[in-house]
Structures are given as C-alpha cells and as structure tokens.
Amino acid sequence: MRLLTLFLFAATFVSAQVPFERIVNADKEPGNWLTYSRTLDGKRFSPLSEINTENVSQLKVKWAYQFKDSNIEVSPIVIDGILYVTGPNAAAALDGRSGRSLWKWKRPLPGDYQSIGFGHTNRGAAVLDDKLFVATLDGFLVALDLKSGAERWSAKVLDYKLGYSMTMAPLAIDEKIVVGVSGGEAGIRGFLDAYDARTGKQAWRFWTIPGPGEPGHETWSGGDWKTGGGATWVTGAYDPELKLVYWGVGNPGPDWNGDMRPGDNLYTCSFIALDADTGKLSWYFQFTPHDTHDWDATHVPILFDGEVQGKKRKLIAVANRNAFYYVLDRATGEFIAGKPYAKQTWAKGLDVKGRPILTTNAEPTEQGALIWPNLNGGTVWFSPSYSPQTDFVYISVREIGARYFKRVTPYRVGTFFPGGGEDELPPDDTWGAIRALQAETGELRWEFKLFSPPWAGVLSTAGGLVFSGSDEGNFYALDGRTGKPLWDFQTGGAIGANPSSFMIDGHQRISIAADRVLYVFGL
C-alpha cells in the first residue's frame, strides 16, 4: 500500500512538474525561471542577491553553449537545474552545471519558407505541467515532453505561405498557451491565439484587425483591413486576478504608406487586454494611431501596482517604440501618464487621453523626411525590466533617426509589403543608453550611455544590479540605483537577447546569448 502510494505520488509529480500555480507563485522559487519574463507581470526581475553590487566584479564564465544558428535571441526557461533553450525551429535541454545537452529537438523548415521583415530566430519557450511549448517559424505550436524532447502534439497556427510566421516565446496561462504571430511586413491580418495546453485544440482567436461588423472596423477603408498587419510577435503579460491577457500589437500594413489605408487602423500599434477564458476584448489603448513608421507596440508589458495621486492603482507600463513612455490603468486601459524617453520629432506631446499631437514633419514623403526615432524606435522587442527595490523601469534605448520614404507597393500574397522604407543615419550620429525611469511618471532617474543603439534587453536583480548587452558584444552590470558600471565582459558576438538569472546547486547564475553562444556566469 505504501509502495502504491509512492508510485501514485510519483506519477502525479511526473505529469505535473510545473503546474500553473508554480508560475503564479514564481517568487517562492527564485532559483527557477518558469516563464518568459520570470513572472507573469513582465518585470524580468530576479529576487536573487548572491551576486550584488559588492561582488559583481568577480563574475566569471561558468560555461558556454554553442548553437548551430547565429543571432540567437533566446531567453532560457530554467526548471530545477535544467535550462530549456530554443533556436529557429529547434529546442534543447541543457544541464545547468555543465552546459551539456540532455536532449535536442529540431523540426525541418520547409524549403519555400521565407522570413519577411526579420531574421530566422526564436526568443524562447513556455512551460506548463509536463510540457515545453515552442512556436515554429513555419507556423506550428509544438508541445514537447519536458523529459525527452519528444513531441506530444503540434497545432497548426498559421499558413506561412501568406507571410505569417512565429518567433516569440509562447505564454502559458491557466490551462492555455497563448501565441502571437509575425508578418507585419507581409500584409497579413494579425491575430492572437490560445490553445488548450493538454490537447492542442484552439481555445480562442482574437483578430487584431477587426472584420466587417466588428467594433473598430470603421477605422479602416474598403478592403484595407484584409492586409492590415497588426502582428503580435512579442510575448505579453498576464494578471491572474483580473484574468486579463495583455499583448502588444504591431504596425499596420503597408508600413510606411498611410495613404493606402486611411483611418486610425485599429488595433495596430496598441495594447489589447483580452479575457483569458474567451479571448474577448476588455479594453485597448492605441499608442500610435495611423502609424506610418513601423512603430509596433510589440513590447513586453510591465504590470505593477503604484500610487497615483495618493491612490493605489493596478498599472501597466511600456516604453513604446514611438519614443514615449506610457502608464495606463490595467483594469480599464485609462491613460494616466506619458512622456518621451528618447529623442523624437514626430509629436509635440500627448493630449489628456494619451493621443499624440503631431508635428508638421511626422510622415514619410516621396523625397524622404528626417524623423526620430527610426523604424526600430526608441526601443524594440527586447525586454525592459522593473525593480521593486527602486521602483524604476529600466529600458534599452536606441537614439537614432532616419529619412523615411513613402512608396506605392502593390500587395502580392506572401511578399514584402512595405509602402516605403528608410535610410538610417550614419553610425556616428547614433548611440544608445540604458535609462532608468520612475515607473509611475516616466521621469528620468539616470542614464548609462552606450556606443551604439542596442539590441539587448535588461534584467534587474535584488542584488541591486542591472544587466544588459551591447551590439559590440559587451555584457555588463550597472548599479541599479545610480547607473554606475560595475563589471563588463566581451562576449565576442553581437548581443540581441535578454539576460536572465537562476540558481544552479544553490548558487546564482546570470545568462545571456551573444550571437551563437549562450554564456552562463557565476561567482
């Protein structure tokens, strides 16, 4: 009887290694990293403090893992000493002590697959119960057995021949896996999907470009909505109390020619809040109505509770690609605060509802219009971080303008649909920074300048540190209160990924991917 009990217990454990409660209560196990941003609120903050401002100068490489592909953008999932990493159509489990692989999985990419507007990449996996969930470039959500990498199920999310793809890490919410799509440069009609984590059956779909008869459709003309863009290519956040899924929506199509799609073009360049059970829209907030710069709102939302005019509020914050930082009420979408965090020349400011007031030189032209920021914005897909120790939001900022051009591009299924483009400024006219903003207001607290506009996200830790990387391969730590540099390491490859932190054998580790190598550091 006792043996039987033990067996049953073991069976239960195996089938539910990471129940949703573990993800919701991630702060109870700070040595693990169970969802893309560690916690569902998108903060990318580690409560670990073994590595801190006093000893970070002693940080050393513990091991490195080489991928087959270059430009790796993964943020690993870490469960009880095992790292789960992804590349394009690939995944692996790594021994956290040695970096040696425990299993590998790869799904062949069809010969006619094309990435339209981005590179072949993948930013990470999701975990729930006994499965790892990976989104593939050619449009499948695949559930892998955590112990072996064998496929449990795969669901076809999209048709890549229409220009769709997937690069983001899925988000596991209660019993469901949420995935978004790429393809905003290919005239897709964007959507966000949820699938039953056990079976792979679709639970709901929210179209980010409303069809005829749906609210918001009036912000499009004629058939423009059919190629309206609105990709959802960066992982969102989740509030398990409000049961709302928060997700950023990308640019309208074509990107740079607004004449081809008059109107505000909802829900492009917006945050949407969806009911987790039904996928129905609870609220939306559009940062850049009728965007003509490719300023996707595809960012990881930061959910935090703060005080506004003396009252505790449930808030959501984002440093948007359009160079403004926004704070909204996350229950209602109400605009609370907003101000520029990077150089911008397209808006005089925001009105009381947060809608931009345009300057006279805000649109691409036939001859080219010089506008800040460039198409990659004040920041891009890589993650910001929020530290409850400082109440600062840390952002990787890109200071770069461009000459924006408007062109006429006819739509052809499954091809590049830009409607223009841009010429970037020469390298020495551009630079970057890590900026610390007061979370509730966006007030600048400090800045650390970077040689060039970065492509790396930010991690903050309870050790009082902020980690990020540079395009020239520097991985570095700053003092979270002052921005003072405390440590740096030359990885040898451009860093276009997010740092993370976890524990191996009871000791804190920091990881970062640089080009084709994943580095893990410790004391």
Partner: protein, 259 residues
Amino acid sequence: MRALLIFPSALFLSAVFAVPSAQTASAQDAPVEKPDLAAGKVIFEGHCSLCHGIDGGGGRGPSLHRTKLSRAPDDKTLKLLIQNGIPPEMPEGWYLSEQDIVNVAAFVRSLGNVPPEKLPGDPQRGEAIYARSGCATCHILAGKGIGFGPELTEVGARRGAARLRATLQNPSKTIPEEFLLIEAVTSSGQTIRGIRLNEDTFTIQLKDMQGNFYSLRKSDLRELKKLRGETLMPSYESFVSATELDDLVAYLASQRGQP
C-alpha cells in the same frame, strides 16, 4: 514588426539586428513587370545618389557611367547587390520590392550609356607624382607602401574622380569613418594620437603612425577626443600644381585592382 539590420521587426550587429535581413523574395526571380526606368530613377535619386551622384557620375561611391560594373558583371548579380548592399560601405536595399529592384537595376544599367568622364590628367605622370610625394608613407597601393591610411589598390573602383580630387585638396572633409583620428590621454599623462581601429562602450583600440597598437579602457583615460574633421594627411593642393593634381587624380582613378 521589423526589428533590424542587423536585424528586423527589429532587424540586426547593427546590421544584423537592424535591418530586416529579411530578405524578401529573391532578386533573381523574374520581374513582375517590365523595368520602369522612370520609377528606377526616382529610387536612385532618393537612395543611391548620395554616394553615386545625382547623375550617377560618382562621388563617395564610384561612377556608374561605365558599361561594365566590376562588382556586378551580370544583371542577376546587380540585383542581388542592390538588395544586399556591400557592407560596410553600401547599405542594403531591404525595403525595395522585387519590382523596385528591377527598376533601379535597369536605371543603373542605363547609366552605362553615359560616356565616362574624360579626365584631364595623365595617369603615367600621376604615377611619378605619387611616387615622389610621399603617398606611400601612409598608403598601400598594389602591395607597396605603409598601411596607415586607406589602401588605394582599388580606389578608382570605389571613388569617383571628383571625390578623389576633393580628398587630395581638402582631406579633412572626406575622412572615411574607419579612419577616425583619436587623441587619448592616459591616467599617467601619456598622449596617444592614432586611428580608431575599433570601439565599444568600454574600450577603444588605436594604431599610431608608427604602426603601434593600443588597447585602452575608457574608464582609465583622463581624456578621449574624437578629432572629427582632422587628419594626418596633408592637402596636396599646396604641394603640386593644378596640372599635377589632374595627373594624380587620373592615376588614382585608374587604380581599379585586378581586372
């Protein structure tokens, strides 16, 4: 969505992220429509003329008034080159559609019908002036000289004659980005002047005129000056006559590397 260029939706090193490396449909595919020279001219003037000149006669980039383009012997190669660029000098045309590329490639080919600029100087005399003017103390040409300044072996294929003349007359106006002059003062008070070979947020690497390499951490420096607009190359306008300058330009313009 692009992130880019060095990569996209945010496209990619800087190139890696930033630009959508996304290469879209391949340039060698058959065009959707026949080339439209007028449309190609608009794209050329908007994106290419900054380096190749508004009439394609060259500038920072080479003249396109020639029937044979050394980097693009056939149309397929030309279209790929327009699409992918020539890093680091020529940016990629990631945002151009297949038809755009067909149009601009046809326009570039049409520039080959423009007779090449007749240069007034004599290349042979120019070679002698080059030899006696000390150019080889800083430049390597055809394997000879000292590699402090840019190599000149193929300079005629990279630069238009007007640009070469402007550089000889006023070199500080046309300094290539990879030859930025730096002055660094170390904590011990040593001053180092040299060319920037590489730089990141925390370090900088220099080479002085004697060919010594310096690896410096920025936090250790008392001063770090980027001497934009300064160069160690003298203006040759005061050294040589107008005729000799013509000869020198003709000689450098003829340096096109191996055929």
